[in-house]
């Protein structure tokens, strides 16, 4: 199934402001032990958010909502992944986040993993880091701001 990164409106960013928790049954790619997360959203940091693991070792992963930041970002999701996330027939668009690697707080040193976005079903709060079917089109380290432009 094809998803397009669309802005879904702030009220939908998290369905319930008092509970930002979500569950990733298979963890992150290569890090299967981190399953329970809390989404930390600070209006002054958006579109950057932080995923904080709330179980076991405390880790924090910066991520970004890619809307408008990447040209022609079309996410092709495998049937298996879209089923695991319950996306078919879901009434609202899922939350799409890309893991951000922040080597330093200079914009040129920030890269986004576009090949494997984290997709979260806003209703069920089940998330998964999916490898896109069309992953070859996208980089795992897309530079947020390209200096050469």
């Amino acid at each position: 199934m094809l998803l397009e990164a669309e802005i879904a409106g702030r009220e939908e960013f998290i369905p319930d402001q008092t509970n930002n928790k979500f569950f990733m049954p298979s963890g992150l790619v290569g890090l299967p032990d981190f399953k329970k997360f809390e989404l930390i959203v600070d209006p002054e940091s958006l579109p950057f958010v932080i995923l904080r693991c709330i179980e076991g070792d405390e880790i924090q992963i910066p991520a970004i909502e890619p809307v408008g930041l990447v040209q022609d970002y079309i996410l092709d999701i495998s049937d298996e992944d879209s089923e695991a996330l319950g996306l078919k027939g879901s009434s609202s668009a899922p939350l799409i986040l890309n893991v951000a690697t922040i080597k330093s707080f200079e914009p040129q040193k920030v890269t986004l993993n576009l090949a494997a976005p984290i997709i979260i079903n806003r209703q069920t709060r089940v998330g998964k880091q999916v490898i896109l079917v069309n992953y070859l089109k996208y980089s795992t380290s897309h530079v947020l701001i390209d200096e050469t432009e």
């Binding site: 002054e44 940091s45 405390e58 930041l69 893991v99 922040i102 920030v110 890269t111 795992t140 947020l144």
Partner: protein
């Protein structure tokens, strides 16, 4: 690990629904055709390692550095990046969610 020798054009059947066929061998490059149901995701092995490496790198930055001030700097950069892309596309940039609220 099960290891099989195959010639060009020969196949390997995995379960009921997956067939691998050796299509061409060119030096150290082997082209393999894969016939599998659409529900089975197929990726080159390296992509997993690459994503894992990115994830590890993403969590390895000093945790205390993810402060409001630091992320705020990047927020401005992201806003600029949006405008630049919108200009290329000839569209208006989507409003940043936080400013929309005000």
């Amino acid at each position: 690990m099960l290891t099989l020798s195959r010639k060009i054009g020969e196949t390997i059947q995995i379960g009921d629904n997956i067939v691998l066929i050796v299509k061409r061998v060119d030096g150290d490059v082997v082209r393999i055709g894969i016939d599998a149901p659409k529900t089975v995701p197929i990726y080159r092995g390296e992509i997993y390692e690459e994503i894992k490496a990115q994830n590890l790198q993403a969590i390895s930055n000093p945790q205390t550095s993810l402060t409001k001030q630091n992320l705020g700097k990047l927020r401005l950069a992201a806003t600029a990046a949006r405008s630049a892309i919108a200009q290329k596309d000839g569209t208006t940039p989507p409003p940043s969610p936080a400013t929309e609220e005000k």
